[in-house]
Subunit: 209 residues, 2 copies
């Protein structure tokens, strides 16, 4: 699934312009993983990509533009993998547990992805909006299936996303921890109206692998 140079690897047959563009995006992701989104400099990105500083400006107007595109691509990629795994899952509970678990695992094991997602949630409203939208779909399904007792609005999504983000941040810092991931799922289910016991049972039943 994941790889060090995700986008560059897929750029083999493409014209030079696209290859360089994708190399810059890959480099951006790796630099963010090392220094965080705030401290990532344009000169870091070009240097890490083995390109001249000026090359950056042939492809992007400024840092924000490449940050947004990189984060968008990571988010889409993660959503694709999660959706793919959930193709056959119907229950909203199972879907929430699967999606949460997978998202955290991807974000933490491929820590470059985690750093980008965390940064995007904080700094890139457009990407943040897409991520919240993705969460919303399965929460809505839970309402439709009469499984969740929630008021599904922007604020609720915000609270759910903050639990998720906090868990990812901690696990990037202190290492992957399946127990923390499970507890995050439980906490999210509790906000959806589950008792502690029911949440634990649901997580145990639906955690993938």
């Amino acid at each position: 699934m994941s790889s060090q140079a995700l986008f560059r690897d897929r750029s083999k047959g493409l014209p030079k312009r696209d290859r360089t563009r994708l190399a810059l995006i890959d480099s951006t992701v790796e630099v963010i993983a090392q220094k965080g989104m705030d401290l990532a400099k344009i000169s870091d990105i070009t240097e890490h990509a083995g390109l001249a500083n000026g090359t950056f400006y042939n492809h992007f107007a400024d840092k924000d533009e490449i940050l947004t595109e990189a984060a968008q691509r990571i988010a889409v990629e993660m959503a694709r993998e999660i959706d793919n795994e959930m193709r056959t899952v119907d229950s909203a509970v199972a879907r929430m547990v699967t999606a949460t678990t997978r998202a955290i695992r991807m974000a933490v094991s491929e820590s470059a992805w985690g750093a980008v997602i965390i940064g995007a949630l904080q700094h890139l409203p457009s990407v943040r909006g897409d991520i919240l939208q993705f969460l919303k779909a399965d929460l809505q399904r839970g309402i439709d299936q009469d499984l969740f007792d929630i008021e599904l609005d922007e604020f609720f999504l915000d609270q759910i996303a903050s639990l998720l983000a906090a868990s990812i941040r901690t696990q990037i810092d202190t290492g992957p921890d399946p127990v923390k991931t499970a507890r995050t799922c439980e906490n999210i289910l509790r906000l959806c109206g589950f008792t502690r016991a029911k949440a634990q049972k649901a997580v145990a039943a639906h955690t993938p692998e």
Copy 2:
């Protein structure tokens, strides 16, 4: 309770050195409120205080030092006000609701405080530690009173704090909203083992004023 220039106001009889120091700290808080902790420049702080740039360095080694001291003072001030209001409150549930409600109200109405607390939670581990410690006390009380069904560790504190921070951030952006504040309390109680109904009842019963 709160004021535009909290620390400077209390510095009337003090020696010059202390007055300037406190003026710089007040200025820092106001600059953070305007531009956020990341973008606050030392030159902004001195300019806003009506002092020369060089004066800063008579009092602090660098930005981090003044940021930490400013955040620490705000955190202590908020904790003092909250503790004071809770002197006579025994139940951990009532205390959690009171503390959460008050903290959010202070952070949002005096938005300079909110910006500092949010910044500190993200960037200043020592202040963050103190805030989590403050939260921990009442959660421990809830365990002792057999009211909360939780595993009280660093990770749990992290999750609670993230709900609080998300609520403050939203309300600073979109304006104070008692409903959001109440829902934040409910969500925290849900993570402590309350059902939705019990959480709502507890918040209704214990919300101050």
